[in-house]
């Protein structure tokens, strides 16, 4: 097992290294490069710029610059925001929580609703319900998240008045109930795509297990169908879903960006969009790299948890 984990860890580090190189390349593609903050400042002369270039070490060869940049990346010095000079990691940290809240609730919805749909679809394979949700899942994957958000706001906020049309919670009233009330809309919107994906994978995972010999044995022994489905099938079918949860991180992050925009939710996605609007490149590049690292960590964690949860893999 440690061999497998070490190999996966090494792969993740290689990925992180390539990701950092792509991030560095994109930073240098920005208009003005790392100096963009100064080229736009009025009253900057060419001499000033040249002096700054030398000061910031931008006249050195690119590989040297990259190594230095990567070193700073590892030590947590990700530069400062152009807007208010706050360290990039602090800016990101202040918004991380709000995004994680959305991602966690959306995943919970996906696990419960998508999981249930998948299980029923597999047990009643090719039934009307199964066919309906198969088509429904494909349509759900085709709906633009932001549009679904607009429709949720229209129906539940404008027409029915059940949900607030956005924002995390009003200033001065930050009780848990108010917060949860504000969480419903965006989590529903973010959860739509993940629920659809979960229902599909849950269904095929269940079908894989249902045809196993030990399920037939259990049935032959006279174990009741309920216990066969829950103890023998569901428990084993849930194992590969750990991997799916890990693979869903990039989808969730992309979805969160759009959802946060529609619902003015103060998370990383909105921060990213605002920073692009202000041409705040250190924060933009920081977030891009940060989300990629989250994705790598998500995949690694899923693999590790899978090995921990399934002893059969440890033996191989």
């Amino acid at each position: 097992m440690s061999g497998f984990l070490l190999r996966r860890l090494a792969q993740s580090i290689v990925l992180l290294w390539i990701v950092s190189m792509i991030g560095f390349a994109l930073l240098h593609l920005t208009p003005g490069g790392p100096l963009s903050q100064f080229t736009n400042t009025p009253g900057m002369t060419d001499e000033d710029l040249q002096r700054l270039t030398a000061q910031m070490g931008l006249d050195r060869p690119l590989p040297v610059q990259y190594l230095e940049w990567f070193g700073r990346l590892l030590t947590g010095d990700w530069g400062r925001s152009y807007r208010d000079d706050t360290p990039v990691l602090l800016v990101i940290g202040s918004r991380l929580g709000a995004t994680l809240q959305l991602m966690v609730t959306a995943t919970l919805i996906a696990v419960l609703v998508g999981g249930f749909i998948g299980v029923v679809g597999a047990v009643r394979r090719y039934s009307f319900f199964d066919q309906l949700v198969t088509v429904g899942a494909m349509i759900a994957l085709s709906i633009p998240t932001f549009w679904f958000g607009l429709m949720v706001i229209y129906v539940f906020s404008v027409k029915l008045g059940w949900l607030p049309p956005g924002n995390i919670s009003p200033v001065g009233n930050e009780s848990l109930i108010v917060f949860l009330h504000h969480l419903i809309g965006p989590s529903m919107v973010l959860g739509l795509v993940t629920t659809a994906i979960w229902s599909r994978f849950m269904r095929s995972s269940m079908l894989d297990v249902i045809n196993q010999d030990y399920v037939r044995t259990a049935r032959a022994k006279g174990v009741s169908e309920r216990i066969v489905l829950v103890r023998h099938v569901l428990r084993n079918a849930l194992l590969p879903m750990i991997t799916i949860a890990g693979l869903e991180v990039p989808t969730l992050l992309s979805g969160a960006l759009v959802t946060e925009t529609v619902f003015t939710w103060p998370g990383m996605g909105r921060l990213f969009l605002d920073s692009i609007g202000y041409r705040d490149y250190p924060v933009v590049m920081g977030l891009l790299t940060f989300t990629a690292i989250l994705v790598i960590i998500g995949n690694l964690l899923a693999d590790v948890l899978y090995v921990v949860a399934d002893p059969r893999i440890r033996l191989q």
Binding site: V14, M138, L141, P144, F146, L150, S204, L253, F272
Partner: protein
Amino acid sequence: MTADTAIAAHGGQTLRRSTRYRTLRRFTRHRLAMFGLVVILLLVLACAVGPSLVPFDQFQLNMRARFREPFAGAHLLGTDELGRDMLARLLMAGRISLTIGFCAMVIAVTVGTVVGTVAGFYGGAIGTVLMRFVDAVLCFPTIFLLLTLAALVSPGIVTITLIIALTAWMEVARVVQGQIRALRERDFAVAAEAMGAPDRWIMFKELLPNAVAPIVVAATLIIARAILLESYVSYLGYGIQPPVASWGNMLEKAQQYLTTAPWLALLPGLMITLAVSSFNFLGDGLRDALDPRSELS
């Protein structure tokens, strides 16, 4: 029975037994795929000839006819906040969105196929480097990468198409790499190599034609993704810029009029969902037809 019909019947028999015929039959019996195909054809037709049949121009402002409701009066689908005809705009937007989806797919499939073929054929160091690069690009959440790239270029139809393609080629590369790696061990590939055929010939004339099926499936699904991605960047303000309409940027302003004019938000979103799900249905049907074993269950 005349000789002609006898030959035709005999020919039909052979045809019926052929793999190609069975594939085609599996495809035409796939109801969702047929639905998708018909909707796509109708959409393309409507966007191509529709604008010339609508008595309004997409840019024609009319401040006296703002926020007209659909199905009431001269404007079939109503008007927007500047009194422009919604139907004319939806159809012209469809031209832009469908064109971007199609062109981005062509570029993404080309890039993905070349990278995948080279990586699968050479393996070793080249293959590892290329596929690790693919893995790394896949680590970036699509919308984040897309918006970063969009912020680096000046927005326009060509640049938006290019950056969408840049974020969509990786999956094709993975599929093609797997196929090519498996195919190159087969006898016909080994024989071609033994005969001294140049690498480029083996890759593109011997191996690639055998990997067309999964590429076609991936291509269809990429059109769906590309249309969706265009709507995301345009909605967020970094895609197609007004007054040129795309389904995504028509939704950009819709949120502020949601209470008074919900059709401004409803209609473009329905068009996107219809187009994207049709391509997804089509791709799903093609996958079932071209490779019956790959069905998810």
